[in-house]
Amino acid sequence: MTLVTHVIYSSQKVIYLSHRGLTVNSKSRVVLMAAVAVVVLLLGVSFAVSTWRGGNTAGALWILVGAIGITLVAVQRLKVYYVSTVQGLPAEDERSRKVMMYSAGYAYHVSLYVWLALMYVRDYLTQSQIFVVGMLGMVLSFGVAWLFLNRKESI
């Protein structure tokens, strides 16, 4: 079995297990989320420090706030995963997956308009600013849609 075939087979297996509602990989998922949160925080702090040393204090603050925000969200998700695992309940089920799918759909829809708006004002922004604002728009629209849909009753 080639490496590519193995990777495809493994990912299909994980998707299959996830559809069956099994929590076989929940422990490794928690470890992965914790690792990503730590990496994001460390990268954010180092990027903020280098930006601050470059004389851009406001930019450094924004980066720091963003990194801390992402870390807080990750910690919150970790808490949900941990509590669910302790209680013997799944961290995800068909409702939470439905909320995620709907949120992703809304975020995709909104991000189309964000990128269109950015194309319109591209002469006034640098390439990196367009990229950062576009990505931020996508992340924020997903977060807002998820918050709204997760509390919505009739979904």
């Binding site: 669910s84 309940l89 799944p90 961290a91 939470s96 009753e153």
Partner: protein, 68 residues
């Protein structure tokens, strides 16, 4: 839609968490199901019905307006 999940759950002395564990969903999903504000998949409806030793049509009650 209205459901009899709460009533049957009480009959079997099951907590929301206990039912969630039996069915394999999060407790929040049971809360929304009891309120009748979440439309479950047919499979989940069948699992809840089985956990409460009931039939789907006894558990989930639709008004005429729901079915229009």
């Amino acid at each position: 839609m209205r459901t009899r999940i709460k009533e049957l759950r009480a009959r079997y002395d099951l907590t929301q968490e206990g039912l969630a564990r039996r069915v394999g969903v999060r407790r929040e999903t049971i809360v929304y199901l009891e309120k009748g504000t979440y439309n479950p998949s047919l499979l989940l409806a069948a699992k809840v019905a089985r956990a409460l030793d009931s039939a789907i049509e006894e558990l989930f009650i639709f008004s005429e307006d729901d079915l229009k």
